[in-house]
């Protein structure tokens, strides 16, 4: 069963954040929120695994050590 992978995997972390911020450039709060929601849905479908997604939601809701991850 695949588990949520929380090891560092990004080849270009600064580049990722830059691309995300560029996508949000010029958007108001509601439009930004909607863009993020689209992104979450696109990535969730790409991952596809319900167990991994639940673990990711739990981690996002509680990012501290209590998440158990």
């Amino acid at each position: 069963m695949p588990r949520l992978n929380t090891t560092p995997r990004l080849a270009d972390p600064d580049g990722l954040l830059e691309a995300l911020l560029a996508a949000h450039q010029g958007l108001d709060e509601a439009a930004s929120r909607r863009l993020d929601a689209r992104l979450v849905l696109i990535l969730a479908n790409h991952i596809g695994d319900a167990e991994v997604l639940r673990a990711a939601i739990a981690l996002a809701a509680k990012p501290g050590p209590e998440s158990g991850l």
């Binding site: 929120r33 929601a37 689209r38």
Partner: protein, 536 residues
């Protein structure tokens, strides 16, 4: 009420039923049903078809006002076919199976609710609730076993271990009625539930909807159309359904701040409809209502000799057509069980199985209807963002379409966890708890449908040539063969065998599968039948 000039009067004239005089003294009856609505009448007719007499009390003297529960799902239609009303409903109802979802000015998604052929009944028909009720009243009266007491209002009830004592008020005076079994089909504001002080808990939604029955000649196809944030009603949703008699049902979401009184004003409603249809389309308003809704239920539906069915037991939001269809399935579930108990063939354990089966079914309906409501009526900026994100993506990206939730339309409950089922090892086809799938069959060369041949009792489907079988009393064999054969149904398409997935299948009187068998082992079949009668 009138909108733009459109001649004519309502196609349906509500009947006024005579209120019988109260009985002269106290009475004792085996079965008393409270509420002559869709669910109470379906239950009375089901019981009568099984030879059980009932008294039905209703505080009114007519059928439903307005179209109300208009979407009758395939399973409900199959139940009405069993009860003898299927033809009338299929002939009058508007058949549909496709739906479209629009977002702003674009189509985002379309769906097909019955992509597979080989079923007698369609995915849905739309039919005004008042037609269904009026035909149920006629059918009940024709059995001679249903005593309909209009304008007999339940005033008080007190439960007894062996029934309930009812105080009834009528225009001509009150009386006392002793019931061995009390079946509460008296709707969301159930007097019976109130008398027993049972908690009815769940969620209330802070939103209001305007519902309008509009008479017009329009070109819309016979599909369910749902708009999110359309140009003609910005920021809210709209649902359109076609009904018989050139009647169209339109639901406008209004938001929680809307004033229900002001929104009922015909001029205001007319303006809303006009902006949807555009100028120059004549129409007439026939019925208007403003509603908000709740999703809630009783914890249990069986309370000694009192049993709750339909909205008195569970209430859902209208998206998904799970209220009326859920209630009809309640009646379908309880009728044969109560008849068996009254005939002395089963104990009250069989009635307890109504709880075990219909409470999870109601929970499933509430879950779906709550999720739909949360999608249609987002309550937080986050909910709004996700809802709009789904709709942004759905038009061009198939992966997002299953996330669009404009109502998950009623599907029959699969009673998978029922104590009446005998688990089996088959890995495909209709397993225990599933309502029997239909299939085209022929008898002596005459084409027909499998469900029409099931009869009123337990039925053992045998996918083999006719042969003598050692079966429990009241279990009738039905032989089904791939080639025409005397004494068997001809499964000419092979769909019956494929859909059941086993050589022999035991069906309950409500057409649900309870057990499947690899061999015609008499002891195994008898044990499964005992279990299905609550004697396991």
């Amino acid at each position: 009420m009138s909108g733009v000039e459109q001649p004519g009067r309502p196609a349906f004239q509500p009947p006024r039923y005579a209120s019988p005089p109260p009985p002269r003294g106290p009475e004792q009856r085996a079965v008393v049903i409270i509420g002559a609505g869709l669910v109470g009448l379906t239950l009375a007719l089901d019981l009568a078809r099984r030879g059980v007499a009932s008294v039905v009390l209703d505080d009114d003297d007519t059928v439903s006002v307005g179209s109300r529960a208009i979407c009758f799902a395939k399973r409900s239609l199959e139940i009405f076919c069993r009860l003898g009303l299927g033809e009338a409903m299929l002939a009058k109802g508007v058949t549909w199976q496709h739906g479209r979802v629009f977002f702003q000015d674009r189509e985002a998604y379309r769906f097909d609710l019955l992509p597979e052929a080989g079923h007698e009944c369609p995915a849905f028909i739309n039919l005004q609730q008042y037609y269904a009720e009026a035909w149920l009243v006629e059918a009940c009266a024709a059995t001679g076993l249903v005593e309909l007491r209009w304008k007999h209002r339940l005033a008080e009830m007190s439960p007894r271990p062996d029934g309930a004592t009812l105080t009834v008020e009528t225009p001509a005076g009150g009386y006392v009625l002793e019931a061995d079994w009390l079946l509460a089909c008296d709707g969301a504001r159930s007097r019976v539930r109130e008398a027993l002080a049972l908690p009815f808990t769940g969620r209330a939604f802070r939103d209001r909807f305007l519902i309008a029955d509009v008479v017009m000649q329009a070109e819309f196809p016979t599909e369910r159309w749902f708009w999110f944030d359309p140009p003609f009603h910005p920021g809210q949703s709209v649902l359109l359904h076609k009904q018989p008699d050139d009647l169209w049902r339109i639901d406008f979401q209004l938001g929680w701040e809307a004033d229900p009184e002001a929104e009922r004003d015909p001029d205001r409603v007319t303006a809303r409809v006009r902006s949807m249809l555009g100028p120059g389309v004549p129409f007439r308003l026939e019925w208007v209502s403003v509603y908000s809704f709740r999703c809630r239920r009783l914890e249990r539906f069986v309370h000694g000799r009192t049993v709750f069915l339909g909205d008195s037991a569970h209430q859902v939001s209208p998206f998904g057509a799970r209220g009326g269809n859920g209630g009809i399935q309640d009646a379908d579930n309880l009728g044969w069980k109560l008849a068996a108990v009254l005939r002395g063939e089963a104990g009250e354990a069989l009635i307890a199985s109504y709880d075990a089966e219909r409470v999870p079914a109601a929970a499933e309906n509430i879950l779906h209807s709550t999720r739909s409501t949360d999608f249609i009526s987002p309550k937080t900026p986050a909910a709004q963002a996700y809802r709009d994100a789904v709709l942004d993506l759905a038009e061009h990206h198939a992966f997002a379409r299953p996330l669009v939730n404009s109502g998950r339309l009623s599907r029959p409950a699969v009673l998978a966890g029922s104590p009446l089922n005998t688990p089996d090892g088959f890995d495909h086809g209709a397993g225990p708890g599933t309502p029997a799938p239909d299939a085209p069959v022929a008898q002596e060369g005459v084409p027909g449908w499998l469900l029409r041949h099931l009869g009123a009792g337990f039925c053992l489907l045998v996918f083999a040539a006719p042969r003598p079988l050692d079966l429990p009393p009241r279990v009738t064999p039905l032989f089904i063969t791939p080639e025409p054969m005397r004494g068997a149904l001809h499964d000419h398409s092979g769909l019956a065998a494929a859909r059941f997935g086993a050589p022999a299948v035991l069906l309950r009187p409500d057409q649900h599968v309870v057990a499947r068998f690899l061999t015609l082992d008499a002891a195994g079949i008898a044990a499964a039948h005992d279990r299905a009668m609550g004697r396991g």
